[in-house]
């Protein structure tokens, strides 16, 4: 089994290095094919490991010693247990699909080989993140996915907005990672080990206060990666990257790393229900907050990005309330339908020559039947309609909130479920139905390559059926994760009914409202619209509070401190040496007579010094 573990882990790295060999050369299909093939190998190995883990075993290997100094011992250890194998399956399935899809999507791009190199490197980092058996390895994977995300958001580096978004994402994640690092230090400081099994066995011996701080700092790290408020703006801006990247990194895998961290660290969070409650409240707030921003946005990818944000909020509610397996379940289901939604959006983008405003589309159903059907499937799953995947996972989260008697959280999530259904179908209606507005703007949409649709179909299948395996899933992961006692059996059907009602209500409202195309522009004058389209003015606020003063400070440091003090000092030293050289070059005039005179002068000076020192020395000695 160890062999399969290593194959699953290192196949993406090999693919990345292979593609990197041709990074600077023009497009060649073999890089894409080989990277995809290796990812598929990784997928197969993960599946074999899954079947092995389902038999009740786990695999734990130590590749080699990484750091060993004094009492500190950190190996490169990897573990395949019930949680990491689920993550491995999710990562490899989505990334295999995205790799093959990208062969079509990046067809006309100059950076084709480079793209595959980055994408596979990302998958490798993600595998390290989920498979590591200690916090240090997790952190390395964590930083690795951050780096690859930066590379991929800024993939079209000639675009100013892309590089800006890449830097924004990277910097916001650095802030959060600092918190995470402090959390890891605290763990090591108090327990003396970073291995999961040691830490989780020892954690309950610590002081309640210490555990609380550890929980808080680790969660700050999770907030950055999973784009929770107030570190959320980077996720929407990250949509500057190529669409497959958004599907893989900013929907299915990397942004869920924060949720994974909370799930993985469940023994820590079980000790501190207060922090858990805070996490859940923040999650519910973000779910609603992001969903409202998605209501009015006019950028297809941003709408889906806000939806991702909102769904991450859902996952944090479940994780915060102690229903870790529910969070993991929603993570998995969400990865499938959200990646599908993004890939569909990628098809539409290609068809519309990179136009993202759904208001300029309309009636695309006739020309892009395949994409439309796949996106509708994904949206239905996202809205949580029976029997699609989203129904099972999202409904469970609502049940968790209700069962924990946090009715406010439940109410928030319930309303958000309606909003989710509404904005998903607003997008569908605007893009695929109604009047064919794209003709006014002179677009000539066309369906994507057939193989791209074919490769999306496994995701569609999973978006439909993933929820049906709930019982097997629960049996698998609850061997490692704590179970959750539901006290809602008496109202279960009613809850499901109420939730489904609002979801269907959202869909019907969206269909009715956008039946005839977009709403009148009168809406855009409304106060609420302005607040929402400007993302609650938060990016502007950050710009005013942080970016501008920091820019001013940097300019000051550059013009006043660097140029006037640092550079000036260095220049002065250099100038002094130059001048001395200029002025003393007369000594070297080649005239023996002059040289001799200088020699005599030197002799006299040395003699004088010798006398002076002798006198001085004797004076002190006396």
């Amino acid at each position: 089994m160890e062999l399969y573990l290593y194959i699953a882990l290192f196949a993406p790295l090999v693919g990345s290095l292979y593609a990197a060999l041709f990074g600077a050369s023009p497009k060649s299909y073999h890089t894409g094919l080989i990277a995809s093939g290796l990812l598929f190998t990784s997928l197969v190995s993960s599946a074999i490991l899954l079947s092995y883990v389902m038999g009740g075993h786990t695999v734990h290997v130590e590749l080699m010693t990484w750091m060993a100094t004094g009492d500190l011992y950190i190996p490169f250890g990897f573990v395949v247990d019930q949680v990491s194998v689920v993550m491995m399956m999710v990562v490899t399935i989505v990334s295999t699909v995205v790799h093959v899809y990208s062969i079509g999507y990046m067809d006309h791009d100059k950076g084709f080989n480079r793209f595959f190199s980055y994408l596979s490197a990302f998958v490798f980092s993600m595998m390290v993140l989920v498979m590591s058996d200690n916090f240090a390895g997790l952190f390395i994977g964590w930083e690795g996915v951050g780096l690859c995300s930066w590379l991929l958001i800024g993939f079209w580096y000639h675009k100013e907005s892309a590089t800006w978004a890449a830097n924004e994402a990277f910097i916001m994640n650095r802030i959060a990672d600092l918190g995470m690092l402090i959390g890891i230090f605290l763990v090591y400081w108090n327990i003396g080990s970073l291995q999961y099994d040691v830490v989780f066995a020892e954690i309950h011996n610590l002081d309640q206060k210490v555990i609380t701080w550890i929980g808080i700092f680790l969660f700050i790290g999770a907030m950055g990666k999973s784009a929770q408020f107030p570190l959320h703006p980077w996720l929407a801006d990250a949509m500057e990257g190529p669409t497959p990247v958004s599907a893989l990194i900013h929907a299915a895998t990397m942004v869920t790393a924060g949720v994974y961290l909370v799930i993985r660290a469940n023994p820590i969070y079980s000790e501190i229900p207060d922090v858990g409650y805070f996490i859940a409240s923040l999650g519910a707030f973000v779910a609603m907050f992001a969903a409202t921003m998605a209501l009015v946005n006019r950028d297809m990818k941003r709408i889906i990005a806000y939806s991702t944000l909102s769904q991450l909020g859902y996952m944090f509610v479940a994780a915060g309330l102690g229903a870790y397996w529910v969070a993991l379940f929603h993570l998995m289901a969400h990865a499938f339908f959200k990646a599908l939604l993004f890939l569909g959006a990628g098809n539409v983008m290609h068809a519309m020559s990179d136009e993202l405003d759904p208001v300029k589309m309309g009636g695309l159903y006739k020309v892009m039947k395949g994409t439309a059907i796949l996106m509708i499937l994904a949206s239905v799953a996202l809205a949580g309609i029976w029997p699609f995947a989203g129904f099972f996972s999202k409904d469970k989260i609502l049940e968790v909130a209700f069962s924990s008697e946090h009715y406010i959280l439940w109410g928030t999530l319930w309303i958000t479920a309606g909003l989710t259904a509404f904005y998903s179908f607003r997008l569908i209606m605007l893009a695929f139905f109604g009047e064919e507005r794209y003709k006014q703007y002179g677009f000539h949409p066309h369906e994507a390559y057939r193989f791209m649709l074919v490769v999306m179909s496994p995701l569609a299948l999973l978006a439909v059926i993933a929820g049906w395996f709930e019982h097997d899933f629960v049996r698998l992961v609850t061997t490692l994760l704590p179970g959750f006692e539901f006290h809602t059996h008496h109202v279960e059907l009613m809850l499901i009914g109420v939730t489904s009602l609002i979801a269907v209500g959202g869909i019907v409202t969206a269909i009715l409202m956008y039946r005839n195309g977009p709403l009148s522009t009168k809406w855009e004058e409304h106060f609420c619209y302005k607040v929402l389209i400007n993302q609650y003015y938060i990016p502007k606020l950050y710009n005013e509070i942080f970016t501008k003063p920091y820019g001013a400070l940097s300019r000051f440091a550059w013009k006043e401190i660097d140029i006037r003090i640092v550079d000036a000092t260095v220049d002065m030293i250099a100038n002094a040496i130059y001048k001395t050289g200029e002025n003393t070059r007369d000594i070297q005039n080649g005239n023996l007579s002059t040289m001799l005179r200088w020699m005599v002068i030197g002799l006299v000076v040395l003699l004088a010094l010798a006398v002076a020192f002798t006198v001085g020395y004797n004076a002190i000695g006396a």
């Binding site: 070059r585 005039n589 023996l592 007579s593």
Partner: protein, 101 residues
């Protein structure tokens, strides 16, 4: 008047000064050698005088060393000088500027 150590040392100093001025002022290479010889012999006088004064022979031994070294130095130096004179026909210091920096 008895001749004391001071007299010898004053003589030595005067000779040394003459040699030094000669080194600094003379432009003729041959004269430069003369000046060097004066410098060396000024030291010799100093050595011999102090050696006699202290009743220690090592100073006079040093004087012998210096004489020997001065002789070899002059031998080599004059050889080079002759070669130089044969090449250029001049031994003026101001014209020897091939090492100008």
């Amino acid at each position: 008047m008895e001749i004391t150590l001071t007299h010898y040392l004053v003589l030595s100093t005067i000779l040394f000064a003459i040699g030094l001025v000669g080194i600094m002022r003379r432009k003729n290479l041959l004269m430069l050698f003369f000046a060097t010889e004066i410098l060396l012999n000024a030291t010799n006088i100093g050595f011999a005088a102090i050696s006699h004064y202290l009743g220690d022979l090592s100073g006079q031994m040093f004087a012998f060393f210096i004489i020997a070294i001065a002789a070899s130095e002059v031998a080599i130096g004059l050889g080079l000088l002759i070669v130089w004179y044969k090449r250029t026909g001049k031994i003026d210091l101001d014209l020897m500027t091939s090492m100008r920096g």
